[in-house]
Amino acid sequence: MSQAPPTTPTGTIYDRGYRHYEGPREGRWRRVRAIVVASVRRALGLKRNWKTKIIPFGLLVLAFGPVFAFIGIRVLVGEAVGEFLGYGRYLRIVAGLLLLFAATAGPELLCPDRRQNVLALIFTRPVTRTDYLLAKLAALLLVVGLIAVVPLLVLFLGNTFTAESAATYLRENLGDLGRILLAGVVLTVFYSVVALAAASLTDRRAMATVGLLGVFLASSALANILFFTTRFEGRRWFALLSLGGAPGRFVDWLFGDGFDQGTLAQQAGLTGPVYLTEMAVVVALAGALLTWRILRLRP
């Protein structure tokens, strides 16, 4: 180790920039934003190799593709092509994609931080566990909302501007716009919070994804089995056991599409507000679990 000669002024050390930084700092929002941006990139596979983009971009193509195709045909052919599926029906289809998207993106946001042991790096920065939780949740809400809300908004705008009279279409269908936003927000919050809660239980992405999908499928199967194999007055409430069924039933009720004949939802006869309440309870429980898991994280 070479020592600095005695004549070297001590100021040269400070000139190299080692003095403690006491300048201005951005606020808490900037720190949260940094995690949000990094998490959105990770969820969408941005700045990563092509394999990580397959699932998120595949689902985005499935969600947006039919909408753009329909609008394109409407532009070419005009209103003669008729109505697309209808906002409610399309959102029911998108709900399946939302579940898949949340079940893959949620674990992608939480699990690697524990698996790759980076929590010590994060929590020795001025970032609280609450900041971390809010940032992860915001990131997932953004990417899930991208599928839940944006395709239908694009479809609504497409319908509006390819109609004979945009103003008339807008006036007559303004209620649909409100329903699109409400349903999109409800489904986004439901799937995002539940997916993050599942991801908080393990540091293995695949286990969280498979576990979440399994719980949704198993709960639907259980609800159907219990409803159709029992005969008593209160069996209609078995419909609420189906986690996967609640979002679609709420959407059907909201858009007035009615439940399919012979299904559990149709025979149970429960209304949209009941399913909305069920989702609110599930979100509250999942949120509590998620918060508890994040606050007790030990790097």
């Binding site: 190299r16 403690h20 940094a34 790096l121 020795t124 920065r125």
Partner: protein, 313 residues
């Protein structure tokens, strides 16, 4: 929340009777020390409580008993203190798919620096990684990953830098540059705490040491001073002299001398008092007509101190 500062002249880090236990296992017991600006080495055998102590200083675990104060404030659950702290944890704690530049920039953003890009460039340059800045972390050597972690830790120019086994995986050239960097940071008034199991590195890095053995503080301070306090450990003095055999009887007659070995022109004496030995030696040499060519102690190394402290427990 006020910016962390040591303007009052108090210690940067202060542990007051800190203890940590996990169930029935006591990891650290009744640990008290204070750190001030400069480089301090944290030493101890495996299981001595080094990592527990570092985690407590970083606020990553809550003391079972006692207090851990940074800049005069309790660290636990006070994230604003992290504005003044840089931490390099042990192990591979990195996002493998980020580039060096994006990783360091992310840390600058987490610290809320107004120009995170410029801060990241400066920190990357400090650890000599600018030519590799666009490389992904998963493709780096272990030494390069360590330096990346250091860049992430100094990107906000902290007043307190905590390094847990920072030189793991570095090649000798990288180690030399890293030691120089840490010494400069310490010389600039930053408080640096370095944990390492490689004593030779700590010896070059830090004059102040903390030695943990069995979860307790075995010694603290300048290791030369600690060596002086090891009165029950005879010290070895090597003497190169023209008449070694004639000088030996005089030396062995000194009350403080434990043993003397003669090997040609070299004479190795074990003494309980270097001071008494050094006083008597020139007189004896003059009386015997011998010429002294070299006199030096040979067991002043940090390793000697460490072995002694660990062995006496």
């Amino acid at each position: 929340m006020n910016e962390p500062t040591t303007a009052g002249g108090g210690p940067v880090v202060e542990l007051r009777r800190f203890s940590k236990w996990y169930g029935d296992v006591v990891a650290v017991s009744d640990l008290s020390f204070a750190l001030r600006p400069g480089v301090t080495g944290l030493l101890g055998p495996n299981g001595a409580g080094k990592t527990t102590t570092l985690k407590a200083i970083c606020g990553l675990l809550h003391p079972s008993q006692g207090e851990v104060m940074l800049f005069g404030r309790p660290i636990h659950r006070d994230p604003m203190l992290y504005r003044a702290i840089g931490v390099v944890p042990d192990g591979d704690r990195l996002y493998p798919r980020l580039t060096i530049r994006s990783y360091v920039r992310l840390h600058a953003e987490l610290h809320g620096l107004p120009d995170p890009g410029a801060a990241a460039e400066r920190a990357i340059a400090e650890v000599d990684l600018l030519p590799l800045a666009e490389r992904k972390l998963k493709g780096l050597s272990k030494g390069e990953r360590q330096r990346t972690k250091v860049a992430g830790a100094i990107v906000h120019q902290p007043a307190l830098l905590i390094l847990d086994e920072p030189m793991t995986g570095m090649d000798p050239g990288q180690r030399a540059r890293f030691i120089e960097l840490v010494r400069l940071i310490g010389a600039a008034g930053v408080t640096v705490l370095v944990s390492s199991h490689i004593l030779a590195e700590v010896e070059r890095l830090a004059s102040q040491i903390l030695v943990l053995v069995g979860g307790r503080l075995a010694a603290s301070g300048d290791y030369h001073a600690i060596r002086d306090l090891m009165a029950d450990q005879p010290r070895t003095v090597m003497v190169k002299v023209s008449e070694a055999r004639r000088l030996a009887p005089g030396l062995i007659a000194l009350p403080s001398t434990v043993a003397v070995e003669v090997d040609g022109d070299a004479l190795r004496a074990r003494t309980r008092s270097v001071e008494a030995f050094a006083t008597a030696l020139p007189r004896l040499a003059r009386d015997q007509g011998a010429s002294l060519h070299e006199v030096r102690t040979t067991d002043e190394s940090l390793e000697q101190v460490f072995r002694y402290l660990v062995g006496r427990r």
